[in-house]
Symmetry: C2
Amino acid sequence: MSARPSMAPLQALVGDDLGRVNEVILRRMDSRVALIPQLAGHIIAAGGKRLRPMLTLAAARLCDYDGVRHIPLAASVEFIHTATLLHDDVVDESDLRRGNATANVLWGNQASVLVGDFLFSRAFQVMVEAGDMEVLRILSDASAVIAEGEVLQLETANNTATTEDAYLEVISAKTAALFAAACRIGAVVAERPVAEETALESFGKNLGIAFQLVDDALDYAAREAELGKTIGDDFREGKVTLPVVLAFRRGSEDERTFWRRCIEAGEQEDGDLDRAVDLIRLHGALDDTVERARHYGAMARDALGLFPDGAVKRALDEVIDFCIERAH
Amino acid sequence: MSARPSMAPLQALVGDDLGRVNEVILRRMDSRVALIPQLAGHIIAAGGKRLRPMLTLAAARLCDYDGVRHIPLAASVEFIHTATLLHDDVVDESDLRRGNATANVLWGNQASVLVGDFLFSRAFQVMVEAGDMEVLRILSDASAVIAEGEVLQLETANNTATTEDAYLEVISAKTAALFAAACRIGAVVAERPVAEETALESFGKNLGIAFQLVDDALDYAAREAELGKTIGDDFREGKVTLPVVLAFRRGSEDERTFWRRCIEAGEQEDGDLDRAVDLIRLHGALDDTVERARHYGAMARDALGLFPDGAVKRALDEVIDFCIERAH
């Protein structure tokens, strides 16, 4: 592919459906309690790529589904995602998301926790209305795994002994589980054979891992204006992501002392982030993090092998490339 | 009734079932992520009255249900309750619950938010396994209403203009909705007519309102050792509960200036809590809060009128009395 990979082909294919999903989201995030749509609207309506609900829509399309039940379910997926974002920002004490002040900064941690709970409940209400028990099973399982992953991330934070395997376990749970569920339910509503359900689940899971790997690389690479997030958040929070795992393992004893001070003791001074970025680049840890992402991207691509070639499959292939190549 | 009303008759009637519920709770709060059972065990296993799951068990018994599906559902109710407690303690910045240090003090706000999310997800997983879509509807609706009530409580906090109606709206949502749902699902599993479902829902709702009214009175009345919670929490947090609503409305302009300083401006000095307690007693606001609770207790009692007399109904009647008379 010569042009820069983008989400545009997928957006073109599922754009009409996504418009309907956005209508459901706007209608169902409403509440007689005014603070709820205000705060939820800030994080939901402000945008984001809507990648996860688009995956549900695309998966249903790939399975030749021609009904409408995927619409509310895609909205549920976005509600679950938004609830976790609100809680993440509280847990991480973040100030910025997509270049905007986070809800916890504008309305406080209390409101962010409670509106997250509301959106999470609302996700299940919408699923119940859709009336598919198998979808409820998949998304309640995913929600529990996501929460486990977030707790596991707390346990690995500030611990430079974290292995690449432990890191993979965290991102498989906190990120890839929802990607996997979002894709799988597209096959469930289309009532396709289990082999197609699991193929789409595998696609989503590996795409999610690749996506998070690149996200974690970008936290040491992105220019703020471009990414709409502050560079160095993970470093300041003492998160042990793959760039750090690799740089720590490949570094000298002197460098490891640096990482331990910054990440474990949490003692950070001016210039430490610059040194961290330099060390990560010196050891090729960013390039190799993206290289690892390519591996999972390749698995995601092969997972779609069961499905016939066509516009949807090509668009999903390009989403894999987009998730990885946005690193450059 | 001459003896002090207690939960003992209800505990005797549903004790075996409650033992099974506790087994489900202990088994399903487990996770490969060790911090989850540690933190969840602290708040769940430490006890509490298990009032809400006991209501599910009693409602099923009142409906002559002789199956086992009420057991996991009662566990789900307790998981939802526990998730809201964990989040409440973060939102309220509480230090003590039932006389023990709160989870947020022991493990931090981050873990409390995330383990709350896990328990909430687990509640839905257990409901999905039970496979009853109507129960899922009732409990997902209740969960959304609870979150709305908690946000509404944030909005009324620090506002001495809060009316008794606005206060009732808060406690109906944040507390009574789960009591109502816990009772209703007892009739649903027993496949009883809708009239019995709604009768039990009405019983639970009014019992829940009475329960919270008394809880809010106790926050200005209880001796710490007896209640296992610190007196004056609501005052310090600037919550506008009914004792404050009544004392504020019945007070002099000088007293209202006091309430505005303490509750709205949040400027509290030594001796302010004592003065607040004195003013609340002076205006009969504690007795009248409990009197209001008796009104809802009477409605709860009448809601059970459809059901034949017997041991279960008598035990539930005594629970109403217990919830109210624990104020003395």
